[in-house]
Amino acid sequence: MSEHKIRTIFIEGPITGNFVGEKISHHMNKTDIGGHSIFLGQVRADVINGKTVSGIEYSAYTDMALEVMHKIRQDLFDKYDLTCMHIYHSLGLVKTGENSLFVFTSSKHRAPAIKSCEECVERIKKELPVWGKEIFEDQSHIWKVNN
């Protein structure tokens, strides 16, 4: 499939439970779907050198990130029999306990939805030009690096 348009994935601030719920509800009229897979990335209160993380402030090279995401999306649609795929990533401050990434894949059967969701998350972590400043409770910070 190559007809997908480049669309934004970025949301200012956290991805809320209501937002996720609405996106799920939007799929109830799509009766060819048999399974969804959802990944939610959540900000952890890591303790680093005795200091506790209170949130992550995300920034991105948005123009490049949207092109990279478009490529990942195309690759996954080519590889798996998917009905649809939605990706949202936060920018700005996301506090601990809040969600910063939402990947939502749907297909006729479970396997393509589950596999593509996992692969999408792994590729986002590795390929998307997004940066995160881990802000501690005392307002000092360090820059997070994905493993």
Binding site: I56, S59, A60, Y61, D63, W131, W143, N146
Partner: protein
């Protein structure tokens, strides 16, 4: 004369105190990086990838006016 815009992201932007600058009269990406390292020694101690017009490049590449070079420290999305 080539004018290239250079973007710095994440900790690079923070430590350099600016998120962008322009380089005049440069011919290649290696030349730009070498000039930047001389002017901003902090770049010698950081890890980053280089993107030219939003595509990651891994070797020296000629540049022309209007192109955008970006220095991308390790990613932390997700």
């Amino acid at each position: 004369m080539s004018i290239i815009k250079v973007l710095f992201f994440g900790q690079l932007g923070e430590q350099m105190g600016s998120s962008s600058l322009e380089m005049n009269d440069v011919q290649t990406t290696d030349e730009i990086i070498e000039l930047l390292k001389n002017k901003y020694p902090i770049l010698r101690t950081h890890t980053y990838q280089i993107a030219l017009d939003k595509e990651i490049i891994n070797e020296n590449t000629p540049v022309t006016t209007g192109q955008v070079l970006a220095l991308l420290p390790p990613y932390a999305g997700g």
